[in-house]
């Protein structure tokens, strides 16, 4: 495992489209780094650049301070889990898992391959499927084989491109936990790409938020959540989404020169304080309830602990936890 560092990596497609613009970040050895961003932000391109599948136009990629910017994919010794699981359909599951170990670069003896494959198959609970053809698996099994094919090796870094996005919710949750455990047990360095904030917050040691090919912010999940440096970043984490309102709306209680305010739904306290709003919708989630309020002509989501016994049209008192309010300027950047 290695520390992977990107310095000012820029990738331009078709001479005009800047897919990556001066990307710089470091994945420390043994850490779980998540790149978070919507479709088209450059997450996959970043992974492909690190793996050597895309040539970059500017910048450097370093593995343990060694420059690999121009090295061939095979020479970089990374492991990649693709979004489309891309198992080799003409091989059995066993041979799929053994494939990287049989590379002419590694020449691992068959006996050792056997023990490694067996171990990984057990860990991922696919032992009974080893003799199946790759095409005779369910989606979840295929994805576990694809992850297994990466885990049989000890590469410099594991690169994972939304590996769970094609699975159903239940399987996704359990694999998420499994993956984090595996990472902790192996001390693996993982760069994980996703647009799913739950995956990012549950697994990451560090999150890098991408915006249009640029790094918007890097930090621990708590930092990104509590201290986003722009509205864009604030929108990436938190469910329900953060409320962004103009300062005029809350001028009666908060005096500020900030143009916009960010209010997390859980920081709006219902049934207390002296502000009054009407209830628009009530969405019961079990342990919590999402309540949509209308106040001063704008809608705000708030998260209520427990079940909420109000309904549409009710008037309700609420208060705002002023110490948690985030302040942004006209461009959506944070004001200290």
């Amino acid at each position: 495992m290695a520390t992977v560092e990107l310095q000012g990596v820029t990738k331009i497609f078709d001479k005009t489209v800047k897919a990556l613009d001066q990307i710089s970040f470091t994945v420390q050895n043994g850490k779980f780094f998540v790149l978070l961003g919507p479709t088209g932000a450059g997450k996959t391109t970043t992974l492909r650049a690190i793996a050597g599948l895309e040539k970059i136009d500017h910048g450097k990629i370093l593995f343990d301070e060694e420059d690999v910017t121009t090295a061939q994919p095979a020479a970089r010794d990374t492991a990649f889990v693709f979004q489309q699981y891309s198992l080799y359909p003409h091989y059995k599951v066993y041979d799929n898992l053994a494939f990287p170990l049989r590379s002419p670069l590694r020449k691992v003896p068959e006996q050792e391959i056997n023990s490694k494959v067996t171990k990984i198959a057990e860990m991922l609970k696919i032992s009974s499927k080893l003799n199946n053809k790759a095409t005779e698996l369910s989606g979840g099994e295929m994805q576990r084989v694809a992850i297994g094919r990466a885990l049989v090796r000890e590469p410099n870094i594991y690169l994972m491109d939304e590996p769970l996005s094609s699975l159903d919710a239940k399987l996704r949750e359990s694999l998420r936990v499994e993956l984090k455990n595996i990472q902790l047990n192996l001390g693996a360095t993982i760069l994980y790409v996703t647009h799913d904030q739950a995956e990012a917050t549950t697994m990451a040691d560090q999150i890098g938020v991408l915006e249009n090919g640029k790094i918007a912010q890097i930090g621990s999940p708590e930092e990104i959540y509590n201290n986003p440096n722009s509205i864009y970043v604030a929108n990436r984490l938190g469910s329900p989404k953060i409320n962004i309102v103009k300062n005029s709306v809350l001028s009666s209680i908060i005096s500020t020169n900030a143009y916009q305010l960010g209010l997390r739904p859980e920081h709006i306290k219902l049934g207390q304080g002296d502000l009054s709003a009407s209830v628009k919708t009530v969405e019961a989630l079990g342990a919590e309830t999402v309540v949509e309020l209308e106040y001063n002509g704008i809608e705000m989501l708030c998260l209520y602990q427990g079940s909420f016994d109000g309904q549409r049209g009710d008037n309700i008192k609420f208060a705002i936890d002023q110490s948690k309010v985030l302040f942004f300027n006209e461009d959506g950047n944070k004001i200290l």
Partner: protein
């Protein structure tokens, strides 16, 4: 009324109609072939009898004549010989002839095998490499090059027979196996590139990328991962190339005579006493059909296996 049928399945009537059309088509195409196979088992006399004999006493005379050279001998000489040792000698003797040696058929037949399979292998191999390059790499003027490759088939190959004849004579490629393999490869290559490019385009590039990250070079990834998945296309292409090279007649007549002559120009020239030896020609044609038939049947399972790209989510 049958209501258990799913709307996606054809109705009983359309099934029957389809079967009828196929059977009629089969009868039409199989009559000449059946006649040739039947002729190969006739005696020389019954092959040319009029009206044609549909039921006849089978004989292996045609096959014996195909594989041997014979000469007619006077009865006294035949009587002076020791009794025939094998069934085919006996058959020839009964026609008052002796076997003077093997015919050229086996040589011509092996020429066909060498040239047919050689050209097929080469066309498919080179075609696959070119198709992969066109499918994956940024080739300058890609579309123009692909069109140029296709345009080589826009005239019948025989249109360039004269220049090729002169060129082959100058290069010493006339009447050689290599010359014929090169010629048939060249003719087949454009078809192979076009067919295979379509199949290569269908194979997601993630497979090679995964293999390259897993420690294989692009070439190794091509052989280990891409080619096995292109099997359907390779089988289809190989069948087309094989059928062309195996059946090609005009260039074979023009460019080969002794050393590299293939079976097609040879078979119709099998001459018996007083005219063409129809049973022997029938026998030659029947044997000639077999390799390409086996080849097609063997590869057919890859054709039918069809599009089973199951392991990539699209």
């Amino acid at each position: 009324m049958d209501t258990s049928r799913s709307p996606l399945e054809p109705s009983g009537f359309s099934r029957k109609l389809a079967a009828t059309i196929i059977i009629v088509y089969m009868v039409v195409t199989l009559i000449p072939i059946t006649w040739i196979v039947a002729t190969s088992f006739k005696s020389v006399d019954s092959a040319i009898s009029y009206p044609p004999e549909v039921f006849f006493e089978p004989s292996l005379e045609g096959y014996v004549n195909l594989f041997t050279n014979r000469s007619r001998q006077p009865k006294e000489y035949l009587d002076s010989l020791p009794p025939p040792e094998t069934w085919y000698e006996e058959l020839v003797r009964s026609r008052e002839m002796v076997i003077t040696g093997p015919s050229k058929f086996i040589g011509r037949y092996s020429n066909s095998l060498i040239i047919g399979f050689g050209a097929t292998f080469l066309s498919v191999f080179l075609g696959a490499l070119a198709a992969y390059a066109f499918s994956r790499f940024k080739v300058p003027l890609k579309d123009d090059l692909m069109f140029f490759i296709l345009s080589t088939r826009m005239f019948p190959p025989i249109a360039v027979a004269v220049p090729i004849f002169i060129m082959y004579r100058k290069l010493g490629l006339g009447d050689t196996h290599l010359g014929m393999i090169i010629l048939y490869t060249v003719v087949n290559l454009s078809l192979a590139v076009w067919l295979l490019k379509g199949f290569m385009d269908e194979i997601p590039k993630e497979y090679e990328e995964a293999a390259m990250i897993d420690g294989y070079s692009r070439m190794q990834a091509f052989f280990k991962v891409v080619l096995p998945q292109a099997m359907t296309g390779i089988a289809a292409t190989a069948i087309f190339c094989m059928i062309f090279s195996w059946n090609e007649y005009a260039f074979a007549v023009l460019l080969t005579q002794f050393n590299a002559q293939t079976a097609p120009p040879f078979i119709p020239t099998i001459i018996g006493e007083g005219g063409l030896d129809w049973p022997a020609i029938g026998a030659g044609t029947t044997l000639f059909l077999i390799p390409v038939m086996i080849f097609t049947v063997v590869l057919r399972k890859h054709l039918l296996r069809g599009i089973t790209f199951g392991a990539v989510r699209k």
